[in-house]
Symmetry: C2
Amino acid sequence: MKALLLNALHQPLDFREIADPIPGPGEVLVRLHAAALNRRDWWITQGQYPKIQFPVILGSDGAGKYRGKPVVINPSLDWGDDPRFQGKSYRVLGLPDNGAFAELICVPRKNIAPKPEHLTWEQAAALPLAGLTAYRALFTRCRLRTGERVLITGVGGGVALMAMQFALAAGAEVFVTSGSAEKIEKAVMLGAKGGANYQEEGWDKRLKADVGGFDVVIDSAGGDGFATLPGLCNPGARIGIYGGSLGKINGLSPQILFWKQISILGSTMGTNAEFRKMLAFVTKFNIVPVVDSVFPLADGNAALKRMEASGQFGKIVLKITPFF
Amino acid sequence: MKALLLNALHQPLDFREIADPIPGPGEVLVRLHAAALNRRDWWITQGQYPKIQFPVILGSDGAGKYRGKPVVINPSLDWGDDPRFQGKSYRVLGLPDNGAFAELICVPRKNIAPKPEHLTWEQAAALPLAGLTAYRALFTRCRLRTGERVLITGVGGGVALMAMQFALAAGAEVFVTSGSAEKIEKAVMLGAKGGANYQEEGWDKRLKADVGGFDVVIDSAGGDGFATLPGLCNPGARIGIYGGSLGKINGLSPQILFWKQISILGSTMGTNAEFRKMLAFVTKFNIVPVVDSVFPLADGNAALKRMEASGQFGKIVLKITPFF
């Protein structure tokens, strides 16, 4: 099969022919039609993950066919027994296990599920990791209720957009933040009620004055800006955090947290049960993941460059032309 | 009646005779036998609370008699309709409403409950605010389960000790931190399995190595030290925070929060239903609040000084000699 190999850090991926993988016990062989990138893939190429092994095929998101039937792959491997947290043998597909930037992939049988019929291959590949992460953060962890007001920070990323679409489908009123006026505009076209540009001084006070407080906030940045979020919250609010692209959180006021009874809820990925619930939710509400751009598998490095530049709005997808 | 009045900031309380209070609609008149101090009382004298009015009688904790029957007072006034958070008209007894540092007090009828029979007046007065705060943080917010491992930071304070006693009664394994070896020793005598002195370099790594991780942490300090706590946690852990004596939280890692599925849960006081559940719990398990010291009401300023010095282990209580 053809695959994109990571042979060393800070190197372009190596597009080449390698031996077809052979399914182990409990595994199935999936012929991939599309894969999608996640920030994680880029970080791995930069050495930001522990225990990187070479060569490895990256890619946590894939959609393809198993025995002729269209499937999507749940990238949560061996979650474990407790739905509250992942166990010791938990892995995300695409390191150390070979991932979806290839024509073929072996995954545990329990990690495949029927592809939602209303999605193209590219849209289906865009769904798994972002959809699962957004679903758990929003519903399992933050327990979003219909009619609540939600703030999604840093809209444009895959999970953020998915969280926005899920919250809208669940009957929430959704606002977004971004450093780009264009991304806010696009989010509003997709159903967000409004947004704020966090590059503008005083954006938080204006947003609070215009809109009132938020019941749920979904953030993946952390950093110094995180300390602003509790101030934007209603009493009883839940702040879901699934990433930390801006690093450590500073200047967080305990008094606002306890007086407003705020919950800060770390969340990552999800269980097989959550994956299936997420697929049912997406199917029920005809949710279509936003695809930013599609590259041929052979152009994986151009796709990674687009991820690095952070200009995308939605998922960056690799189209895998079947060779069979 | 005799009462301790706060007439101005940074002034000793003024012990004097004033007119007896008259119950308003829905209120009852309680003849107090004992009151207890909270850090809040001292902070108010230092101007650390908004909208302070003068003169005011401080004191959130009281036990006494209503129509000859022994009662304790729930200091949570007008919580509101939603058990998840207090409403707009919520107040803590003892500012702006006159509090318990007096011979008589008027409180809403629904805020009194029968005094647990196994407690003395002084022990009963030590219970309400600390007991309610500890109960909500530990059970409602952090959902402590039997057999879990709990860390209580800054043991010695009233809420911290109560949280320790409640967690022990609930069948948890409890460890404590303190800046004082003597306080840790006392906590161990009360049932804690061990402790760590946070003044000692590397205390957190040693504690983790000796004990393993924690499922629930109860903190009232915040500050830079808070960022250490997620590292001490097991996956799925809950960190309840009900105070912020060391100020803003810095250096908190989002990655640890989301990868371990950690919840940081702000919590303060509680509802009337929680107050009654707390009293039932205290009665069922014969829990006796730790009383650090007892001062006559007339010596309220000496009691405040003891609070200021932070040397106490347990609650500082005012004994109110009935004048009737």
